[in-house]
Symmetry: C2
């Protein structure tokens, strides 16, 4: 293979963005050869912009079967990702799916199974995995610099969305249209990074979602979740869309100190010796371990979508490991589903969640929805 | 009355501290005239230090009935506060009780009732209520500068206590000796300030305590609590004693922006107009309210015990309003009791709590305790 011929499925905000950098040749070894959209206006615009360089299709199915592409970027609405990805795999195509992987884990598990059976390269657009801040955090944790993790705390409330935003599309913030609110639409990166940087998935979650708080919508836009991990650590995840200004502060405390990421800076309060070791040997009732405040250097740039597309292209061309394997998409979604399920059942949710129960509860929301805005 | 004659009950760490500034005449209108302690060594030391200036008594009861004092500072173990305060009120004395008010709300309610019936001046040593940071925060909230509160979030994990600390006294960190862990011993100020600065008590709480985490103790030393308020706001309170370095960060978000207190500094991100008003009138899907980052000036000093003692003395002498009325002690204790009760029952706790249920659960802990360290 000389070049990976790429098709973009869905020319909304994300799809158009991917098309732009591909057309400009910013991804080595990749070529945009086809697009599809169910909206004729968008296809017309694509033809006007790109002429014969890019084929246009009125459906994903037609694009998949055109022979014009080796892989696809899937930029359709959340609910459609799994069904369309499974179809693409069955056509022998590689797939890079936009986040979130899907709306409920049942469908995403099926997508993962189809990907594995196909042997094709399957990635997910977790571009924040190339953000040097989180790459560094993951490295500090996995290398043991922070010691065993004892607590995680992410306040991510800087997703300000006004009522005008919610009113800008009939599908927005509806159970039927998007399958949820802040968790499924704004937080997929943070939910992924919460587990990817720490290497920890909770064993159980107790969460408290509010629906339509300070906004006329039916889905959750305010969440506080408490998590317990296998190693005894605990975690908190707080998110909302109505706070101005919100906060984006991720604190992780471990046996060797504490790391805080806030305002795009990383600070590591590092203990000279492990806390557990200090505690074991210290005999002074008011003794405190020695702490060094360290400002951690972090590379600039990163976190761009084209880096993930480049990595996926490289994986297709030469077997480069994926930074964001598609299979990982189910992890953040599991956290998101668990938070809703805990609220709906007013109880603990153990992970992995019971995907049938979640599916049924989601259907109830859709059924009792006023089909859009409340 | 020319001077308020004060007796100190209990000459441990706190009692000795109060005695020192009183002996030095740092509280106008107050005079230390008597002390009591059940430990003869401490009384001997008091006699050596102060000679005839200060009478010494082997029991609180004897001090209360000596006629030598007009009011007492109650610095005995937590469990003893209510019984001894009630006795003091019955002897016609004013009372300033150390924090916490007691261990369970039942006994503190009885203390409050006795105080009200006595008509005496009844204060509690919430010296952080004179900390200019929290005085300013309370003022910004009560004056409406922050708008209606939407979220509170206090991470107060900088209570590092090693095993050597817990081993330094047989009563420490036991159900029978202290009646709890970080909530009753380290957090009383924060639990009080959480409600005093905001003017909000939760309507219900769901909390998750860990007992003896990373320490060989039987009581809670790690807590995450979620709170819901009557006005729809939510809150989180996270505390622990094993993290190094811990965090002390209090964030309050309201209709007019966000205030954060951290590192003894206060920042107010103020919205030019109320968020609710912006949201009502904004028509731009990606519109954001205008935010001003304001560094709020805060007076230096404050938060000293002698300020509370001075205020209580002034209240006795001339009717000055109390900064920390004794009756308020039950509020922070209710939060503390609710967090334990929610954990023990693995369920929501509505406020005010069922004080009988809490009392029974506490007795169970004491009964099944290994009588001290596990």
């Amino acid at each position: 293979m000389n070049k990976v011929r790429i098709g973009i499925v869905g020319l909304g905000n994300m799809g158009s963005g991917h098309a732009q950098y591909l057309i400009e040749g910013q991804v080595k070894g990749a070529e945009l050869t086809a697009v599809s959209d169910i909206n004729p206006k968008r296809l017309k615009l694509a033809k006007e912009q790109w002429g014969d360089r890019v084929l246009t299709f009125e459906s994903p199915e037609a694009l998949f079967r055109s022979g014009a592409v080796d892989g696809i970027l899937l930029c359709t609405p959340h609910y459609d990702h799994p069904r369309q990805a499974i179809d693409a795999f069955s056509c022998g195509l590689h797939v890079l799916v936009e986040k979130p992987a899907g709306v409920y884990t049942q469908q995403v598990r099926e997508m993962n199974e189809a990907a594995a059976a196909s042997g094709k390269v399957y990635g997910i657009m977790y571009n924040q995995r190339s953000n040097p801040l989180y790459v560094k955090l993951r490295e500090l944790i996995s290398s043991g610099e922070l010691g065993e993790i004892r607590r995680t705390n992410w306040i991510i409330t800087n997703w300000y969305r006004s009522q005008a935003y919610y009113n800008s599309g009939g599908w927005r913030a509806t159970w039927g249209g998007e399958g949820g609110g802040v968790l499924i639409n704004q937080d997929p990166h943070q939910l992924d990074l919460w587990q990817w940087t720490t290497g920890l998935m909770p064993k159980r979650i107790r969460a408290f979602c509010s629906f339509g708080k300070h906004r006329d919508i039916e889905v959750e836009n305010d969440v506080t979740a408490y998590a317990e991990y296998e190693n005894g650590a605990t975690g908190v995840f707080v998110t909302s869309t109505y706070e101005a200004p919100g906060t984006n502060r991720f604190e992780i405390s471990g046996d060797r100190g504490k790391i805080v990421i806030e305002d795009d800076k990383m600070t590591f309060w590092r203990l000279r010796e492990l806390e557990s070791e200090f505690n074991r040997t210290n005999t002074n009732a008011w003794g405190q371990p020695e702490i060094w405040k360290c400002e951690i250097p972090v590379a600039s740039g990163g976190a761009q979508h084209k880096e993930i597309t480049q990595n996926w292209t490289d994986a297709i061309m030469g077997g480069t490991p994926l930074l964001a394997p598609g299979e990982d998409g189910i992890k953040g979604l599991t956290l998101s589903n668990a938070m809703l399920l805990s609220t709906w059942t007013d109880n603990w949710v153990s992970l992995p969640i019971d995907e049938d129960v979640f599916y049924d509860k989601l259907q109830e929301q859709i059924l009792f929805s006023a089909n859009g805005k409340r």
